[in-house]
């Protein structure tokens, strides 16, 4: 496998795995003080959220290259195009994940 493909695949895999592990661990630790909410509930909710975010992550990874390329073709510098792409990715992922988190909390506590 050529270096570009392997590094892209590694970055995508590492990105998603780190996101899942980071969210699971952080949510478990942060919800420890909340009464009537066990670690099992937290793990279940975190798992549900990460599962809901998987299609979004796939979409974000799929548009990782075309969006900066389009921005560069419009005349922007590669650095600016990469920065805009990263900011857009963070905004999209965080916004949808927050909607999914609210949805999950509402479902499991109703």
């Amino acid at each position: 496998m050529d270096p570009l493909t392997s590094s892209t695949a590694g970055a995508i895999t590492g990105n998603y795995l780190a996101g899942v592990v980071g969210y699971l661990g952080a949510y478990l630790l942060l919800t420890r003080g909340v009464e009537t909410y066990t670690a099992k509930n937290a793990a279940k909710d975190a798992y549900t959220l990460m599962k809901k975010c998987l299609p979004l992550a796939v979409f974000a990874y799929a548009t990782h290259a075309p969006i900066p390329a389009a921005l560069v073709s419009l005349g922007l510098s590669p650095q600016l195009a990469a920065a805009i792409n990263s900011l857009w990715g963070i905004l999209l992922y965080t916004g949808v994940a927050k909607v999914a988190a609210n949805d999950t909390i509402k479902e499991n506590r109703s």
């Binding site: 496998m1 270096p3 392997s6 590094s7 695949a9 590694g10 970055a11 995508i12 895999t13 590492g14 990105n15 998603y16 795995l17 780190a18 996101g19 899942v20 592990v21 980071g22 969210y23 952080a26 949510y27 942060l30 919800t31 909340v34 009464e35 009537t36 909410y37 909710d45 975190a46 959220l49 599962k51 809901k52 299609p55 979004l56 963070i90 905004l91 999209l92 992922y93 965080t94 916004g95 949808v96 994940a97 927050k98 909607v99 999914a100 988190a101 609210n102 949805d103 909390i105 509402k106 506590r109």
Partner: protein
């Protein structure tokens, strides 16, 4: 051939248990026939006597007086056992794995459809995360007042999920670098 086969263990029991089963029944018969035993003593002996036949043969009907003492232990029995054999109703069938996956997929599609129909939800969600991180978190850290009422659990969980999302995003930077290193070394 049937003589050589050993008896099942649950019917035999230890010798001490046999003595316990037989002795109370004789005492209770004696107490009932003579009428000498006092009410309290007879009650305890009768209670022991009724437990004897239930251990020996499970098909015998229980006396009516045993319904009340057994009610307390039944409280610890899980609801699954109560709804099944005791009432005679068929047990509730749990959905299969395929049905569960399908239901979750439909639910996920519904959520994405809602977001696509209302794209402002993305900005609203991002705004909530920013508010939780840069307003609610410093506020809770700076003003630790014991007199204030605790917030609702759902609200607390929403704030915690925002913080967890931010930490998760931060970890993805390191995760991506680790992934690149691992892939270039392995692949």
């Amino acid at each position: 051939m049937s003589e050589k086969t050993p008896k099942p263990n649950h019917l035999e029991g230890p010798p001490t248990q046999k003595a316990d089963v037989s002795a109370p029944s004789q005492d209770s018969l004696l107490a009932l026939s003579t009428g000498i035993a006092e009410r309290a003593a007879a009650g305890s002996v009768l209670e022991e006597a009724t437990t004897g036949p239930r251990v020996a043969g499970k098909n015998e009907p229980e006396p009516v007086t045993k319904a009340e003492p057994d009610a307390a232990p039944l409280a610890h029995v899980p609801a699954r056992a109560e709804s099944g054999a005791s009432t005679g109703e068929p047990a509730k069938t749990t959905p299969t794995l395929a049905a569960q996956i399908k239901a979750q997929g439909v639910e996920m599609l519904r959520m994405y459809a809602t977001i696509i129909k209302n794209p402002t939800l993305i900005f609203k969600g991002f705004g909530e995360v920013m508010k939780d991180l840069f307003y609610e978190l410093p506020k809770s850290l700076l003003s630790r007042n014991e007199d204030t009422e605790p917030r609702p659990v759902a609200e607390q969980l929403a704030t915690k999920s925002s913080q967890a999302l931010a930490l998760s995003e931060a970890m993805t930077v390191a995760g991506s670098q680790l992934g690149v290193l691992a892939a270039t070394k392995l692949l």
